[in-house]
């Protein structure tokens, strides 16, 4: 069954991309289209981080290894949407005008931490293949725990860019905190849990 399910989930994961293409086509993006596109991909990056982090707890709770089979794909979509988000900022918003971009990355903490999160995603994306898992052995698990740091960076990024602290960034932060807390508890019982 998983054979048919995976392509289906893959298509579903492309939905956020499809919806924005439609919005661009129908000129549906309102007063600040560039910002809307940027925020759209930023938010979906965070959603995919949450989804990725949900798979292991689901496996625990339902006792089905089925969930784990989606983890890599979801994780790679995190990297994909983070990269599109970054490209929107660099290319569409700032037209590859590097001075203000470098200034932002170095001086503005929300950009700094977002960029750090994206940098940390690179090694995870590179080592996501079956082959890499074999090569890295036990280290693979340790390396991929970086996703916890990425999740925290992502939510801080969202909180810091908000003009005042509003509802949504706090909801995402809460979800991420819960997803991470679930792991601490479980780890005490099962050392092999990743």
């Amino acid at each position: 069954m998983i054979k048919y399910f995976k392509p289906f989930v893959f298509i579903l994961c492309l939905w956020p991309l499809g919806i924005i293409i439609l919005d661009i086509y129908y000129n549906n993006l309102g007063a600040e289209p560039v910002k809307k596109i940027m925020n759209h991909f930023g938010e979906w990056t965070l959603i995919f981080i949450c989804l990725t982090l949900t798979m292991s707890p689901l496996k625990r709770i339902t006792n089905l290894s089925f969930w784990i089979k989606f983890r890599r794909m979801l994780g790679l979509f995190v990297f994909f949407y983070a990269t599109v988000h970054l490209l929107t900022y660099v290319g569409l918003d700032y037209r590859f005008d590097w001075d203000p971009i470098i200034n932002d990355v170095l001086k503005k903490k929300y950009i700094f931490i977002g960029f750090s999160a994206w940098l940390l995603l690179i090694p995870l994306a590179i080592t996501s293949s079956q082959k890499m898992i074999k090569i890295l052995g036990r280290n693979w698990k340790n390396l991929h725990r970086l996703v916890y740091v990425i999740a925290i960076f992502g939510s801080l990024h969202y909180i810091w860019l908000s003009k005042t602290i509003f509802f949504k960034p706090l909801v995402y932060t809460l979800i991420i905190v819960v997803l991470l807390a679930l792991r601490i508890k479980i780890k005490k019982r099962d050392v092999n849990y990743g």
């Binding site: 600040e32 560039v34 910002k35 700032y94 203000p100 200034n103 932002d104 503005k108 509003f166």
Partner: protein, 301 residues
């Protein structure tokens, strides 16, 4: 095409005035007419005073009294009652004034004033307001020599303004100006927009516009104008004193602590248009820079 829509909804007199105004600025009307497709708009200069389309001005608003989303004000303010509306001008004045918005409208002739509006969030519009210089009203109240600052207090009405049920900012909204800023001819009391009555989501019935300062300095739905001796604390200063200063002049060289203020996105200019550089005092330096001579604008942000 958008232009044609504007002439349809604008009383002719004002429309002609506006055209004259644009001509005086040395911009040819025809060049403004072609500038509509997004490729041309992509090169819109920061000096362009072509008004932003009404649909953006009236649907993309920061007015937290009605909610924090840009669409909240237009969606939630349509039943807001602006009549009757009383405004008090008091404090350090010889002649305290209690007046209705209607009386103000009849007492002072509003003229069209096309100003750039720069939001602290990094976007900008060009808006054809109707209004008159605040100094005309303040003169009637005769500020005494203790009047060093002017405080603007907006309406507090959580029943009609759902956003005021949450402590996002200190309610009612408060803003302030130094007396010389308040008396400056560019400082405008606004009664209308695009040749019509001011829409509720834009701060009806009476709001301020201080075109060389970030948008939040321009209080909406004002009920009280108080002349005071000490510098008032605005709602935004109270909420985050490190980020929002009393002056809040548009200044590309002084960043918001969390984001850059060097450039801005032009609302309605399309997906392919570039950011434009933000201008010192939002481009009104010739008129207002002398108000701040000798001041360290990094310190007095």
């Amino acid at each position: 095409m958008k232009k044609i829509k504007y002439t349809e909804i604008t009383p002719e007199k004002i429309y002609i005035k506006r055209r004259d105004f644009i001509k005086k600025l040395g911009l040819s009307t025809s060049s403004l007419m072609i500038g509509q497709n997004f490729l041309n708009n992509a090169y819109a200069s920061s000096n362009s005073l072509e008004p932003t389309e009404y649909r953006y001005i009236s649907t993309y608003n920061n007015y937290y009294e009605f909610g924090t989303r840009k669409s909240d004000p237009v969606e939630k303010s349509q039943d807001f009652k602006t009549e009757p509306w009383n405004i008090k001008i008091d404090g350090e004045v010889e002649n305290e004034i209690n007046i209705s918005a209607l009386e103000i409208n009849n007492m002072f002739e509003s003229e069209e004033r096309i100003y750039r509006l720069r939001c602290v969030e990094g976007w900008s519009m060009v808006i054809p307001w109707l209004g008159f210089s605040l100094s005309k009203l303040l003169d009637k109240a005769k500020p005494n020599n203790k009047a060093k600052f002017v405080e603007f207090i907006s309406v507090y009405d959580p029943v009609q303004m759902p956003g005021q049920k949450y402590p996002i900012l200190q309610w009612p909204y408060r803003e302030g100006l130094r007396i010389d800023e308040a008396m400056h001819p560019l400082t405008t009391l606004v009664t209308g927009l695009y040749g019509k009555k001011l829409p509720n989501q834009n701060g009806a019935p009476l709001r301020l516009i201080v075109p060389w300062k970030y948008g939040f300095k321009s209080a909406k739905a004002i009920v009280n104008i108080k002349l005071v001796e000490k510098m008032p604390t605005s709602s935004w200063m109270r909420s985050s004193p490190r980020e929002y200063g009393f002056y809040s002049n548009v200044n590309p060289n002084v960043d918001h602590p969390r984001w850059s203020q060097a450039s801005e996105r032009v609302i309605g200019s399309g997906i392919l248009s570039e950011r434009i550089p933000t201008q010192m005092f939002n481009g009104y330096g010739d008129e207002v820079a002398n108000l701040y001579s000798g001041m360290d604008l990094k310190k007095y942000f």
